[in-house]
Amino acid sequence: MGGLRGGQPPSTVAPLAFLPYPNADAPSEDLIARCVHCGLCLPTCPTFAVLGVEMDSPRGRIRLMKNVWEGRLGADAAAFDDHMNTCLDCRACETACPSGVEFGKLVEGARSQIVAARNASLGERVIRFVALDALLPHRRALAAFARFSYLSKRLGAGAALRAIGTVSHAARRLAGLLELVPDQAPTSEGLPRTVAAHGTRRARAALFGGCVQRAVFGATNAATARVLARNGVEVTVIEDQTCCGALHAHAGERDGARALARRNIAAFERAGADVVVVNAAGCGAALKEYGWLLKDDPAWHDRAARFASTVRDATEYLAEIGLREKPGPVRAKATYDDPCHLLHGQKVREQPRALLAAIPELTVVPLVEADWCCGSAGTYNVTRPELSRQLLERKVGHIKSTGAELVVTANPGCLMQIQSGLRREAPAVRVVHLIDLLDEAYGAS
């Protein structure tokens, strides 16, 4: 309106003063145009709740993305980097938005531009290389790291590192990583290639093993295969699959994510299963978005979209086909915490709750703010430790007030984060993956 009445329209600066988006992964103007700046998403945003500033709200972040298109802000601006990376990529704002703004695509697009626009500092590059290129795609290296972490934790390395951490930033970050290593010993026990369905076969599923889970959550993968098999699904585990690329995409490394996606698509096409089942919400959300990730690659786009349409979260799939065999009783009081990338990323809400309700004698009590991020958010606990800690404390507080002895979730990242929060505050409360709990319940029947 300002223009019409000659008020004070926002100052416009010569467009060439700011760096525009470097490439086609930029958050598109069409996706941005969906946002009518109504503000309805604000109260669901954890970073807005904690910081109380518009630039760390979904609406503010979208506006900054728009400002880059308008030439009023550089894609390489430090503030742009800061606000895009303070975002948890939890996508709670997507669930809240009546206009259907796809915020995950926007913020991941924005981050890719920051990576492309800025020469990352040397230290940052080393950490990125070790984490994203050397560890994640390589199962054995990751398994070795996991075993090392588990051991060093048992040896009290975390405490030692934290002490050093008061002087060294890098040591503090490592100590943070160690905190996240789960209490159970890593099992890289190999799964058999095929697990036969019990009774008549209803479908053939290929299990997505993931990288982090395979290294430290081998047991959950085995449990997933057992639970599926019990319900009439034949499960294959294919060897040439690799990391899903979610962490790459969240970090703005889209080329890296695309390379991994192509390998996975080819591998799963060869397996020729009816569905691809995944038990890590973060991976599932990434796999379901392969079509978008490869949207500008004509050779791969259709294959990617087809692959994506076969992906199901394990809880989603089990609820869809229905439990054929009744689980045994679990006498406990439990509460369920929604993983962001399951609830907001994949819109899977009722299915896990239905599975819990199917376990006899399990009392399920609601968790306040179950739809809020626990602060894990990929590598957030490492990149924004202070905010992550505040969110974790909030989560732990709500968990404690339920009086539940069992916290059920459906994503390894959340599991590790919540476990690390409860370890100090309420060591008696156990955190468990829903599929592991189902598997236990079946064991009890």
Partner: protein, 462 residues
């Protein structure tokens, strides 16, 4: 500004880009943004600004639809996002004392365990703040039966633009002296800042019935509204949507809104359980008599919630139709609904604009939403404003007003002469001058400003 100390001021150019807008189509850049945490902070900033002649623009959640929180004359934007504590819940006296940044719905959620709620429920209630509600005297679907914000506020703490801290009213309903609480409610930040609010709490209804009625034409739906009101049944809410709105809303919530209806009504009755069924039957009979093509009763709480989520997210769902919208807020006598709605649609169609109508029909409070894509039609906003002017003129002519609940702000200040004579405006001006002699409290709002309103030759419309 060291008045507040570190962490409470946003002053970089990049960060301030996110304080240029609110829920409306207006924008302007602030010179600084402050984030007070206490009344003392607010007063300190006010004293500083007063000394230096700098305007202060209060900001709640920035969901406003008339540009109220936009610093049209520059100055300091004062965000209340960090003054968001519920200070007291006084169950026996049915009162709560809150800071202005408390989100409307958070208050109702907090008092729900006591069987209470805060009545005004703007469709933006998930996000908008009580400070914003007070400033705009907001209404909502359920204010039809129970009154708007001003009927539910009994006390305020305010800070004037020179830093004076004053308390108006309290927990009691009646107070001696001038009704300054009533004066402050709806003043859109132009009299000063609200730093504490005492509100009335209301017992939740025992039960409710929510009916969705579909009609072939908007005329039939409009006639039904008049007929329901005339019948003596007092619904808690009567909301109306046209086909375009319904399309956008259904895509967003998948609540089963009928996509082929020309117009739909969402009618709710509530109260003690006895008699509810009777009221529902009477409403359904009236709908049928006026040609309803289908009737649906929300069978579960979840179904009801979904229907309301659709209605309440309707403005925001416009993003599914086009990136930009311009919404008007005129009020008309309910009996004139069919005729004025036709004029509303003509005002848009004759200018080649798409229009969606979703509004508080029971209050006669229209919300024509003109949707467009500024990237493709750069002059659409101007055409929309022209249509808006014509629509508001029609409302005033029919005996209504130019704003029901969204406020005047910088969006409609140029239209004020449609409704008020120069002397009316001068009387209002004196109230403003009494509270804010220096003219620093949210300047450029409510009153027509000569520099910005010159282009509106209202004489031609009148």
């Amino acid at each position: 500004m060291d008045v507040l100390g570190r962490g409470k001021v946003v002053a970089t150019r990049e960060d301030m880009l996110t304080y240029e807008y609110d829920g409306s189509a207006d924008t302007a850049s602030p010179d600084a943004v402050v984030l007070p945490e206490t009344t003392a902070d607010v007063a300190a900033v006010a004293r500083f600004c007063h000394e230096h002649g700098v305007p202060i623009v209060p900001r709640g959640a920035g969901t406003g639809l008339s540009g109220g929180a936009i610093p049209v004359e520059g100055g300091v934007v004062m965000s209340f996002a960090r003054m968001a504590r519920i200070l007291e819940i006084d169950v026996p006296n049915l009162r709560a004392v809150v800071q202005p940044g408390v989100v409307n719905l958070h208050l109702s959620t907090a008092v729900a365990p006591h069987g209470l709620y805060f009545v005004p429920d703007p469709s933006s209630q998930k996000a908008c703040t009580l400070g914003g509600n007070v400033a705009e005297n907001s209404g909502g679907p359920h204010t039809l039966a129970y009154g708007v914000t001003t009927n539910h506020v009994t006390g305020l703490e305010i800070v004037l633009s020179d830093g004076t801290i004053a308390r108006l009213g309290g927990k009691a309903v009646e107070d001696e002296g001038y009704d300054l609480v009533g004066t402050f409610v709806g003043s859109e930040g132009t009299l000063g800042m609200v730093t504490e609010i005492t509100v009335k709490l209301t017992p939740l209804a025992e039960d409710r019935r929510t009916v969705l009625a579909a009609f072939t034409t908007m005329d039939q739906a409009s006639e039904t509204v008049s007929a329901i009101i005339a019948s003596g049944v007092v619904p808690a809410a009567i909301e109306m949507m046209d086909n375009l709105s319904t399309q956008a809303v259904e895509e967003s919530v998948h609540a089963g809104y009928p996509l082929d209806a020309g117009g739909i009504l969402l009618v709710e009755v509530e109260g003690v359980r006895d008699g509810l069924e009777d009221a529902r039957e009477r409403i359904e009979a009236i709908c049928r008599a006026n040609g309803a093509s289908s009737l649906r009763l929300a069978a579960t709480a979840l179904e009801r919630e979904k229907l309301w989520a659709g209605r309440k997210g309707a403005f925001a769902a416009m993003g599914r139709l086009a990136p930009d919208y311009y919404v008007q807020d005129g009020v008309i006598p309910r009996t004139r609904l069919p005729e004025i709605l036709r004029r509303v649609n003509e005002a848009a169609a004759s200018r080649g604009l798409r229009i969606a109508n979703v509004f508080h029909a029971g209050d006669g409070n229209l919300h024509p939403l003109i949707v467009f894509d500024l990237r493709k039609e750069p002059d659409a906003l101007r055409r929309a404003q022209e249509a808006g002017l014509e629509i508001l003129a029609a409302c005033v002519e029919a005996g209504g007003s130019i704003t029901g609940e969204h406020g005047v702000g910088m969006e409609k200040n140029c239209f004020m002469p449609l409704q008020f004579r120069p002397d009316d405006l001068a009387a209002m001006r004196r109230v403003k001058d009494a509270f804010d002699p220096a003219g620093l409290a949210n300047p450029g709002k409510v009153f027509p400003t000569p520099s910005r309103c010159r282009e509106f030759s209202l004489g031609a419309v009148r």
